[in-house]
Symmetry: C2
Subunit: 336 residues, 2 copies
């Protein structure tokens, strides 16, 4: 086999080198790092300083082999480049590192089949996986949780720890906002098939519209992209609705673009509401009215749940994070 030599020709120092150089047994060196209180302060500082001078760092793979804990976490998202995810990834990474964990990030390209492959591939290499907005079936999730501890984000699964955003409540607030502006014919621009969030939104929106005595046309399923939002423009207009709630900001923004191209003015002729409050939403014109979802908090919470339920016995709690309607410039009174 090929030894991993550094560029200057020296081999990275192992625990044995440190032991030899400081005149103690390897187990003492090991304890110096993993259970410092068990070793004599003098010995400890001697070991520490020779370790320092040798540039020694414990090999995590070797440690993982015996302890069974890799100190790695996997994070699986549908699309890294979808602006919804980066804040979540960033928060999760930061939280993980603070607890001395490293984060694998993987992208399924919106493909549910890929989700399974990724979990399988990561399973032996991580202490747990964060599944963000998974589209796979419940059965499959059941199967996978047997291979590796799982925390799901943006989905509720029986008996599995989960972090969800209260989009139902957010969607309800959005509908009430629109009804309050006098709109009576509404449309919902649906998201992708298999999305728990999408089901929540549809359910809540339907109920809220009904309660308010408003008409609601549900469109979809659609890809959760700007392009799909733009492509759905004619379908939206055909419903005769004066206000639309979109599955996410990206679709809302695509819709806004297409409306602009067709000369339909927002919010004068049509009100548009998004969901997520991605940073883009306050930069476009008109500024988008949207339901803000606490993505960074979700990332942190998911890491916390994984690490905590990893320590003690498994918890199956679901933490629900609140959402908030942010009214900006894309909604206005019913023109009729």
């Amino acid at each position: 086999m090929t030894a991993t030599v550094c560029i200057n020709g020296s081999v990275p120092a192992t625990i044995r080198d440190v032991a030899r150089a400081s005149g103690v047994h390897v187990s003492t060196v090991s304890r110096t790092f993993s259970a410092p209180h068990l070793v004599n302060p003098d010995t400890r500082s001697r070991v520490l300083s020779t370790a320092e001078s040798l540039g020694y760092r414990p090999n995590r793979a070797a440690r993982a082999l015996i302890t069974g804990r890799t100190h790695n976490i996997g994070l699986i998202v549908a699309d890294i480049a979808n602006p919804f995810f980066p804040p979540l990834i960033k928060a999760a990474e930061s939280q993980a590192r603070q607890r001395d964990y490293h984060l694998f990030v993987a992208d399924t390209n919106e493909d549910p089949v890929m989700e399974e492959q990724l979990v399988q591939a990561l399973a032996k290499q991580v202490d747990g996986v964060l599944l963000c907005s998974p589209r796979m079936s419940n059965d499959l999730i059941e199967k996978l949780r047997r291979e590796v501890p799982l925390v799901v984000v943006n989905r509720a699964v029986d008996g599995l720890p989960a972090v969800v955003m209260d989009v139902a409540n957010g969607a309800k607030a959005a509908i009430e906002h629109l009804v309050g502006l006098g709109h009576t014919r509404l449309a919902l621009l649906g998201g992708p098939r298999g999305s728990w969030t999408n089901r929540e939104i549809r359910r809540s929106t339907t109920a809220a519209a009904k309660a308010a005595g408003a008409d609601l046309t549900v469109l979809g399923p659609h890809h959760p992209t700007e392009a799909a939002g733009a492509a759905a423009c004619d379908a939206v207009l055909a419903t005769g609705a004066t206000a639309v709630l979109a599955y996410n900001d990206l679709m809302a923004i695509g819709l806004l673009e297409a409306l602009h191209d067709r000369g339909v003015s927002v919010p004068a002729e049509l009100s548009v509401v998004g969901i997520d409050d991605i940073s883009l939403s306050r930069l476009i014109r008109p500024k988008l009215t949207t339901v803000s979802t606490p993505t960074a908090a979700a990332g942190r919470a998911a890491v916390d749940m994984l690490l905590q339920h990893d320590d003690e016995r498994r918890t199956t709690a679901t933490v629900t994070l609140q959402t908030e309607l942010i009214v900006r410039d894309s909604t206005g009174p019913n023109p009729h």
Copy 2:
């Protein structure tokens, strides 16, 4: 020690279990996976099927321990949530996985000190690190490359494989575009201290302005953020310039926002050019004229370089990716 038990109480299958169940030696099982041509097809298929039924997957940590290759890559960026990075991360991850590598992603929060810590922490756990837009000193890079193979992106370092974008040429094109529109008083909204890209842009912009006989005021250093772009608005106006080139799109967009608030119309009174062509740039109004940088290609190229120079002897080549000026609506003729 605590065995890692799965949720159903079973312990994950090891190579030994497979060997026992299929009546061969562990080495044969090992070879079945890592050198299939060395084992009899019958044996191989028998091993494969029992492995399948036992749900066996090779333990990468154990494999890493003996081969010295982890099949992991580290990717260090300044800010995951900065829209410049996600396309790069996505492309790198995809390219890595295609070659059976997994990607650690880490965020320095724009802090150069953190860069070193991260490389150190990742060093023993990866086969190489991709350093994106590093701000650390050359000396430090020299030191770190001794611990782990490095590829730098958006920076040229002597003797180190690098992927850079030809921003110099892009900035030159931007200046020529502005001069062609009749602008003679220009401003450069500079980026962060320590950024190689920033130096390149300044150098090239200065030269291009001089060559064209135009005035150039250089502002900065600034954080590469929208907020910093907005904050610099007054300073930009104070220069008396009729056209500005910003270090990146984010700053340009922040500037656009601030200009809008002050009632300065773009491009009628002031032309603005960004760099990067993040997806946001074509969604804001006016659509931003910008220099597009091939970030996804950079991510792929960086992974390729790391993996290739990892195979054979170390290459120190620098690959330079072309940039392109995208003219949209934020630039127009000199009003004077």
